[in-house]
């Protein structure tokens, strides 16, 4: 498995996927409610993250309604946790 992805790297990934400035993506920001990101774009970003980093979010994580920091925590957890 690749080295852990830092929050700064995760932040940069999301900025690239969503086409917005990384400085707006603080750990506390709620992507849907505060930045006006449409949910389908956010879904596409998460799908891209899954395929590129070989993880799979659980629907129960409700990542879409969380802050970026919480999304990173779940991402990091799945990166560190072996599948199955």
């Amino acid at each position: 498995m690749e080295n852990r992805i830092s929050f700064a790297q995760f932040q940069a990934l999301f900025a690239e996927y969503l086409g917005i400035e990384a400085s707006r993506l603080t750990p506390e920001v709620n992507l849907l409610l505060e930045l006006g990101i449409d949910s389908l774009s956010l879904v596409n970003a998460m799908i891209r993250l899954e395929r590129e980093y070989q993880i799979m979010f659980s629907p129960e994580d409700r990542v879409m309604t969380r802050t970026l920091g919480e999304a990173y925590e779940r991402f990091d957890y799945y990166r560190r946790t072996p599948p199955g």
Binding site: L32, L40, V43, N44, I47, F57
Partner: protein
């Protein structure tokens, strides 16, 4: 102010369920034949995950169209409502059919339904207000009842989108991943029917107010049309699909504009959002519903206790009446509960109705 009571309310949802995987595989097989293998894999993976993230697990569908066609679903719902009301079909003064997935141009759906129900008198016709049809029918019914022209009005809807797709022979192809985003909106659609018998307000299950807001500027955001029909917009020239939708555009418009409409409706009728017992939003898609309710700052305990979307998908104009009927059936509604119904429909139209259970 409307002059309506709900004398009877019923629903019918067929027993079949298609999982996200099954519907995506079906669409991939029928529509994505031209995609390169790598894109096809991306489509399958991306579509399945999208459905997972948007909180849909299955969508309702017919197991056997000989028993659960659109018309048979409508008949079942209508007969139950008539029976619950304790009247005969001969006592229905007006039958309104309001479904979006209406396969009949001639005769109208309501004529067929009237025949199936054995109506011996009365009037019957269809209205098309897309997913807002059921709420719009409340306003129409009140107008008729208030003038004394009709006493018993039966509003019926039946949505069976997969039946229409099958009957169309799955016309159309997806030629790129970008196209897939616009042509796959029916991945969310589910089957369901509902019927409501309306009479003059007798103080019980009263429907008090209805309001709407329309904007035709964005009519292109969602289409359900005859394939290859000439469209008054160049970008749709040669569209070989009967269904097309810009999900992002719809979501953006609804989330941006609908809250303002809701607040205007509340203010016009001197209602307070926080005094509502329940707020029930049309199940267009959980992402839109959740975002709308968040923007309206609706507290969790105010969210309508029935959520049909995860199991049944978007049942179009049947979402709201079926949800009400299920809540009633499960004893989740108490006499006197105040309920705000919120409808949104492509076109774009926003509708709201306020009722006291």
């Amino acid at each position: 102010m409307l002059n309506l009571s709900i004398r009877a309310l019923s629903y019918y949802i067929p027993k079949g369920r298609m999982t996200n995987g099954e519907i995506v595989d079906l669409f991939a097989e029928k529509y994505c034949r031209n995609l390169p293998l790598e894109d096809l894999e991306q489509f399958v993976y991306g579509s399945r995950r999208k459905l997972d993230f948007l909180e849909i697990k299955t969508r309702s569908c017919s197991v056997d169209y000989r028993e659960d066609s659109s018309v048979q679903m409508a008949v079942k719902a209508a007969q139950e409502a008539i029976g619950t009301a304790g009247i005969s079909a001969g006592e229905i003064d007006l039958l309104l059919f309001v479904g979006v997935c209406n396969p009949f141009r001639e005769p109208s759906y309501s004529i067929i339904l009237a025949h199936e129900l054995g109506m011996t008198r009365g009037n019957y016709y269809d209205i098309n207000d897309t997913c807002n049809g059921f709420l719009k029918a409340l306003e129409l019914s009140s107008l008729y009842i208030s003038t004394g022209k009709y006493r018993n009005i039966l509003v019926v809807t039946s949505e069976n989108p997969l039946e229409l797709l099958e009957a169309s022979g799955y016309t159309g192809t997806v030629n790129s991943l970008e196209e897939a985003d616009y042509k796959m909106n029916l991945l969310f659609a589910g089957a369901g029917a509902a019927a409501m018998l309306l009479t003059a307000d007798n103080g019980r299950k009263s429907i008090r107010y209805y309001g709407e807001q329309r904007n035709h500027e964005d009519w292109e955001l969602s289409l359900y049309v005859s394939p290859k029909i000439h469209m008054p917009a160049p970008r749709f020239e040669g569209l070989d699909f009967m269904s097309w939708a810009d999900g992002r555009g719809i979501a953006a418009n609804v989330i941006r504009d609908m809250p303002g409409f809701v607040y205007e409706f509340l203010e016009e009728h001197e209602l307070r959002k926080d005094s509502m017992d329940y707020i029930f939003s049309h199940q267009l898609g959980r992402n839109i519903t959740n975002s709308l309710l968040n923007k309206l700052e609706v507290k969790t305990d105010k969210v309508f206790p029935v959520n049909t979307f995860p199991e049944n998908g978007n049942m179009g104009s049947a979402n709201i009446p079926a949800g009400l009927a299920i809540a009633d059936e499960q004893g989740l509604l108490r006499e006197g509960d105040s309920i705000l119904l919120l409808g949104s429909a492509c076109g774009l139209t926003y509708g709201a109705a306020y009722l006291i259970w």
